[in-house]
Each structure stands twice: as structure tokens, then as C-alpha cells.
Chain length 489, copies 2
């Protein structure tokens, strides 16, 4: 204080100039400026502002329930029972739901889902996850000690990236990610101060992954950093491709040869729609390649309650399985996750139900299967519909949506629009998507938020709106694109 | 690959030598080696291994439900209703619970708690939090835009520390924390590569905070880093003190003078037991000090669903309020939290109920108040009991447990025990606590895990076990301490 007792005139302790520089570099397009504008527009509509549309359709994020998908009854029954165990005496709830709830509660401290769980996750849930993986992968063993429950898949991905980030300057950890990518990866890499290494998916071949491109990208990166991690999203986000077994084998061979840690983001493992496509887990392919690979290649694979047929994003449930992780590093991982105490227990319980769903003969089986199948067939239908309608629009070309929940069509933009965008300091596809939002209420994410080859433009659109609404949306988009093209030609 | 196609013999990509060096420095005593041993012992007991005790009593962590505390009925009813809205037609549930659930669901995308929420948290919950703070602080306004819902308080604390961490070498951000401290702070500081600055609480004056000690600590730190943050835990963890209004005012004055960002960890705000003690929020005191302070001092304060009378740790609910944060930094904060999409929705809903609990005249009010009061009076009784019994033991001296959920008594250890511990490479109080665990099944955390003045020894013990069990535990501890002292004298 100065002598007269007044406080010295000083600025803020924390300003953009003095804050964490890595955080400033973080970008997250899925909830970026376009979504903020969408929220504003929704408010304006509520306040009675006139718009050329009546509602905002948010096709920017894979949020199934927000788009009207109903929760799976069995899952919610069990979570309600876990939350309020007095309902265990209620005969409105089926016995299998009660059994699941009792089993989960018995694994909780004080039989309460309000107790902290172990940091790695509830024991019985980790066992159920391991059994699920083993069944899914044709009997290849899975060890519950290798399972870590997480706060959504994002949490697991960031944790593994954190462990892997080391070195300075030219020895700094490089992380190979596909372009287009899901921006959690670029954001986490920026936050951790690791080096982002781009490898491009081949749009001409339905967003497939070429090993020669991996090789090119790796060699270029070795000039300036230490590439140690290869991230794969399969089925692809935002690009919706499903990788062939051969491709996965090639990727594993590449990782082994080049000494890369593999991170397999497999949160869309149930979302495979296209004929001839099938989900192959990296774990399964790795083990089928024999001990030379299965005893060597380090792999972390991620799953979540947020996608597939359940779409329970709000619960933030997830797991990861780590394979061939150095035991000392695993001890460090276990220590690291203990600082945050535990993932949310309701999310853990939900993850348990996903991997231990009703079985034939159990009272909830038929309803469960009916609900599950309905969601997945509707998604398959909408995937096809999206591709078909978009491809009728001159200037839009869309690869088949083989899996996941998104289309990522390429758009041709008139030179004049590109120039106007650049004059405004906007990415041309951001300019396009903003105009689309203002004129039609459709909220998409511009391709620039995911990365794309220089000079190409895209957007990501979820296939989640109900079929009738999706059709309306696609037709509005068609109209908009034609008008936009005319206006700027 | 070598020419014959065999893979080169290489080690792991990720080893303790090549992993993130900051992560290696992380320590988290509350779930450290002693707890791992406790879990092992529990397994051994189950397998029939003979021990001098029948069960492990985990007094290492503030986990009320695990210690037998029952959830608040109203809270669980509302969460069950939100989870399984079919129950809204069930007349077993009171109308006020149904109204709360309906209100929360209306704020969720697709009326489902399974949808992502906005990254800052559900709108109506943030409004309710702001109203709560305003009521709590005698009408001082709170702006919902300054409220961020979090995944437990830990998440908020780490996020703010992350924003504040910048610079290199002598300009690296220094973070002042009390010693003893809650190890989330030291762990996060280590992980972020910030500089930990210790200020010591005054054990002789019931763990109070002396401004002269803050001054000493700050001046020493300025020699080697850039101190920018002052963290306070009130009521104190692990030390259980409740700060006086005067002390808080002095701390704020100090932060203003020295240009420090204040972080107030106030998760135990309802846990005040001692006569003459009262909880004062930093926010309230700051605003009562007038515009010279209230318009200037940057403050983040944290709350959680895990402590107080509810003890809902597993839900990972929490919030933070930021005051006087630079608007550009706030935009960066909002962007940063968006990368993780959103805090768990059930935890957000629970946070809402904590800040918007049943009111007089509502059907659940009486039961709620009865349950709340029962928990808080039992805790007050156990706080007193713990202090009293511990102080009857020669060689143990325990400050009054004025608040929070822990006692942190000082223990006198015989020279021979200290030497034996050192020979084993163990902290002497870790040696003591390990022996206690092996011989009596009581799991405590050694003082060395929280920090303490050189040459002093302590442990942290929760006051959460049910009264009868707590008495048994305290008497076992007494016996053990006497035996231990004899053995090593």
C-alpha cells in the first residue's frame, strides 16, 4: 500500500498476456464461435426476433438425446435403482435391472453410488469391461488390471497424451493425428505443448488411411520433433469411414516398425452402417498378428457411453484399455488418476450396463434389443439418406457415411465468396456456415475446425436429427447452397 | 523391420525415463501407498488370512457414504426422477422433488440428463448457484455468468491453476499453499510445472494463518519465481481450523497489496462445529471491504457436492465462482472447459439441489432438515470426541476440530522409531501409520503427505466413522500409540 493507505494502481494478475500460453493456442471448433452464435440466435428467437426460420437445428455435435433420441429404458432403470435404492422394492422394475443395480451397489463403498470409487474405477465394472472386450474380440484375453474407467473418452485420451508428452525443442513429443481430426486431439496437444503431426486421410478413397502418407508425415516430423504417438479414430470422426482389417494391420506394422505408441479412439464401435464394413478393434487385430506384435506394440484404446446406440453423453462414462504398458508407467498412470479421486460413479455404472447389457432369457432382453436395433437402423438409414441427398447438390460431394455419426462433405465455394471471407479474416467454410446459420438456422461445424487439405472446404454435419427433420434440413441446405453459389458467382 | 522381416529389438516407447517428468513428481498421499496396502489387507482378510483385527477402518479420506452416512433422501429422489422420468407419474415421490426434476430436465437438451450440457454448466443450475451465493453472502450480488460448474471442486481448482501457470525459470508462476495442505494442490502444481511456495500454518494457535508468515514466504519465493497465486482452504483440510473474519480480511488485504490471485477452497462451508466459529466466504468479506478491494482483487472460490452434510463424492459435482476475472481470460476459460464438453450432468443436478434445497412449506422440508441436522450434529459431536480422546494420550496433541472433517494431531515419536524409519527410507510418520495399519487395521494418512514443519510428525484422521466405531478406533489408536512408544523407547 502507498503511504496514504491507498492501493497501488496495478492491473490484473491474470491477463491474456500473462496467462498460460499453451491454453491460448487451444481451439475447439465443435463448441466454437458458430455454436455461440447459434445459442444467441436461439435466445433472439425466444425474445420474438423475426428470423427466416423457427428453430435452430444443431447438427454440430454428436449429442443424440438433444436431437430427440430416447434413452435405453433398461439403462435408466438401473441407474435410478442405484441412485434411489428404495426402488429395489418396487415391482415396476424388472428383476434383471434390480440384479444389476444390486451388484453395482455392492461394489460401492457403503453400498452408495455417492461414495468415491477406487481411482481406476469400480472393480466389478472393470471386470465386466474386460469380459466384454474378450467376447467382442473373439476370446482374446483382457485383464481388468489394464482397464481404467474415465470421465468420458476425452479424459482417457488426455491422460495418455499427458503421460507421453516430454522433451524440449527437437526432442519434444510429436503426436500424429489424422486430418481431418476430432479437435479434442489438436486442443490437448496444444494445451500440453506437444507437437501436432498431421497425416492426411485420402478423401478420394473414402477417407481411407494410406501408409505412404503416414510415412511421409513421420519423416517430415522427425526433422523437428520426436514423434512417439500415432492416433487413429475408427470409425472416423468427422469423416465417418470404417477402416478395413488390412488397413489396421498395416497401421500396427507401421507403429511397430517406427516405434510409435498407438492410441485407438474406438468410441463409435457399434456405429457401422455400410454394407461390407465391419468394426475391427486394434486390440484384436494386434493379437491376431501373433506374439511378435502382440507382446510389443503399446496400445491404448478408448470407449465411451456417449455414442453408439445409447448416446448417454451427459453421464461422462468411459473406459480405456492399456496394452503392453510398461509396469512402472502403469503405476504412474494409476497415481496420476488418483489425484482426481475417481470418475463419476453414475457414469461408471452406465458404462457397466453398456458392456453387460441384458442377455437372452432375461426379462429386459427383448425391449433392450428392440430399442437398440431401432436406434442403429435409423442411423443407418439416415447415413444413407444424407449421402444421397447431399450428392444431388451440384458443388457438394459426400463420401459414404460408413460409420460414426457424421457426414463430412466437400463443398465447392465460388472465388468471390472465398475472397470475401478472407477479407473478413474468416476461413471460407466458416463464412459459409455462418451464413447458413443466419439464413436457415442450421448449425454445422466448418471443415477448417477439423483440418483439411489446403484449398478444400468442408463441413461436418451429424446424422442425428430425426429422419423427417433431417430431410427438411438437407433440403434447406441444398437450397442454401444453390443460392449461395449463385450469389457469389 | 530388418531384412529378414523380424522386428528390430527395441524397448518400450513409453518408460519412466521417457515419460512426462512433471507427472513423475506428482504425489497424492490420500490415495498413496498406505491406502494401497489397506486394500491389500482387505483382500487378505477376505481370503481368510488371520489378522489381529476383523476389518480395515478407512479414516484416510473424506468419504462420508463409505463410512455409513446415508444419502439425503430428497436429493436421491430428484436424481432418480431425472434419470428415469417415468417415475414422475409415481405418487411415491413428493411434489417438490418432481418439480425440481422437471425444472432440471427442461434445461437439458431433449429433456434428457444424457445430453451434453453447455460447457459452463446447465443454465438454471448456474442461476440457482448464483442465488444461493447471494443469499449466503447477505445479498451481495452473484452473476450466473461468473459460475462454472465443475467435475468436483478438484476440476475447478486445476483449471484455474492451469490458466495461471506461465513463464520459465525465475519468471515461472509460483503458487502459495498452506502447509499442511490438501495434496491436490501440490500434485497439480507439480503436474503443471508451477512452483510450490509453502506458508506454514501456526499449529500453536490452532492452525491459524499469520500474515507475517505469508510475507516471509512470499519474499523468499520472489528470489526464484514469480508468485501470482495464494490458495486458502477454509475450513481447513487437513487441519480443521475455521478462519476468523479478521484473518480473511487480512489475507485479502495482503493479496491486494502483493498482487496475488486468490483461490478460496470453501468446500467445507457447512462443516463448522466449534462454538464461536462461523463460516465467512472470501467473496462476502471482499465485498464488505468496499469497492477499493471488491473491484480489484481477483478471486476464484470453489464448492462441491462431496462434503458438508451431503457427502455425495461419487457424483463429482462442483462449481466455481470467478470474481474480477479479466473478460478476455474468462473467454479463454470458457473455451478451455469446452474441450472436455461438460461436467457430468447428474453431478450438476445434485449441485443444483444442494444450492436449492427444500424450503419451509414444501413437502420434503421437514425430512430434509431432519436428515441434514442429524449429519451435522453427529459430525460436531464426533469432532469434539476426537479432540478429547486424542488429547488423553501422552505423546498425542490435537487442536480443536473447529470445522471440515479431519483431525490432524501431532504425535511425538521416540528417537529410535525415527531412526528405524529413516533406515528404511520412510518418513517417520509413514512408518508409524504403516505399523498402525498392520496391527490394528486403522488406515490414516501420515502428516508427511500434507507437509509439516521439519521435525514434527502428524497424521490426518477423518471424523466420519459412526460414533461407536469412532470411539473404538480412537481407543485402539490410543493403545497402539502407547505400545509403539514403549517399544521404541
Amino acid at each position: 500500500m502507498s503511504e496514504n493507505g491507498a492501493l497501488p494502481l496495478r492491473g490484473k494478475v491474470l491477463t491474456v498476456d500473462t496467462m498460460n500460453a499453451n491454453v491460448k493456442k487451444v481451439d475447439y471448433a465443435v463448441r466454437g464461435p458458430i455454436v455461440q452464435r447459434a445459442v444467441q440466435i436461439e435466445k433472439e428467437l425466444k425474445e420474438g426476433v423475426k428470423k427466416p426460420f423457427e428453430e435452430v437445428i444443431k447438427a454440430n455435435i454428436g449429442d443424440a438425446h438433444a436431437m430427440g433420441q430416447r434413452p435405453i429404458t433398461f439403462f435408466r432403470q438401473v441407474i435410478a435403482l442405484c441412485t434411489y435404492p428404495q426402488l429395489l422394492d418396487d415391482n415396476k422394475f424388472p428383476e434383471d435391472a434390480k440384479n444389476r443395480a444390486r451388484r453395482i451397489l455392492q461394489s460401492c463403498g457403503g453400498n452408495s453410488i455417492g461414495a468415491y470409487t477406487t481411482s481406476q474405477g469400480i472393480d466389478c465394472v472393470r471386470h465386466d469391461v474386460a469380459s466384454y472386450i474378450q467376447r467382442r474380440d473373439g476370446g482374446i484375453p483382457s485383464d481388468p488390471d489394464n482397464i481404467y474407467l474415465t470421465t468420458g473418452a476425452s479424459d482417457g485420451i488426455v491422460t495418455i497424451l499427458k503421460l507421453l508428452t516430454a522433451g524440449e525443442g527437437r526432442t519434444r513429443t510429436g503426436v500424429m493425428i489424422s486430418i481431418p481430426q476430432y479437435p479434442l486431439y489438436s486442443a490437448s496437444i496444444a494445451e500440453l505443448g506437444a507437437v501436432q503431426i498431421n497425416y492426411y486421410l485420402n478423401e478420394e478413397k473414402c477417407w481411407s488411411l494410406d501408409i505412404s502418407e503416414l510415412q511421409r508425415s513421420l519423416h517430415a516430423a522427425r526433422e523437428h520433433c520426436n514423434p512417439r504417438v500415432l492416433c487413429i479414430i475408427n470409425p472416423g470422426n468427422p469423416t465417418g469411414q470404417v477402416q478395413s482389417r488390412q488397413c489396421i494391420e498395416d497401421v500396427i506394422r507401421f507403429a511397430a516398425k517406427e516405434n510409435l505408441f498407438l492410441m485407438a479412439d474406438e468410441v463409435y464401435q457399434d456405429n457401422v452402417y455400410a454394407e461390407g464394413c465391419e468394426f475391427h478393434s486394434f486390440k484384436k487385430v494386434l493379437f491376431e498378428m501373433g506374439p511378435e506384435y502382440s507382446s510389443k506394440v503399446e496400445l491404448a484404446s478408448f470407449h465411451s457411453t456417449s455414442k453408439c446406440y445409447m448416446g448417454e453423453c451427459g453421464f461422462r462414462g468411459g473406459y480405456m484399455e492399456v496394452i503392453n504398458m510398461d509396469p512402472e508407467v502403469k503405476a504412474q498412470l494409476t497415481k496420476l488418476v488418483s489425484v482426481r479421486l475417481c470418475p463419476p460413479a453414475p457414469g461408471q455404472a452406465l458404462m457397466d450396463l453398456v458392456v453387460n447389457s441384458p442377455q437372452p432369457g432375461e426379462p429386459s432382453y427383448q425391449t433392450f434389443m428392440k430399442e437398440r436395433t431401432a436406434v442403429l437402423s435409423a442411423l443407418a438409414e439416415k447415413a444413407k439418406l444424407t449421402e444421397e441427398i447431399l450428392n444431388t447438390v451440384p458443388g457438394i460431394s459426400c463420401n459414404p457415411v460408413q460409420g460414426a455419426m457424421y457426414s463430412f462433405p466437400r463443398i465447392t465455394l465460388p472465388e468471390r465468396a472465398i475472397n470475401e471471407a478472407k477479407a473478413k479474416g474468416q476461413a471460407p467454410d466458416m463464412f459459409y456456415c455462418m451464413k447458413l446459420l443466419e439464413e436457415s438456422g442450421i448449425c454445422l461445424v466448418p471443415g477448417s475446425g477439423f483440418g483439411q487439405r489446403e484449398g478444400t472446404y468442408h463441413f461436418r454435419m451429424t446424422i442425428l436429427p430425426p429422419t423427417d427433420k433431417l430431410k427438411i434440413m438437407l433440403n434447406k441446405l441444398k437450397e442454401f447452397h444453390q443460392k449461395f453459389t449463385q450469389q457469389y458467382s
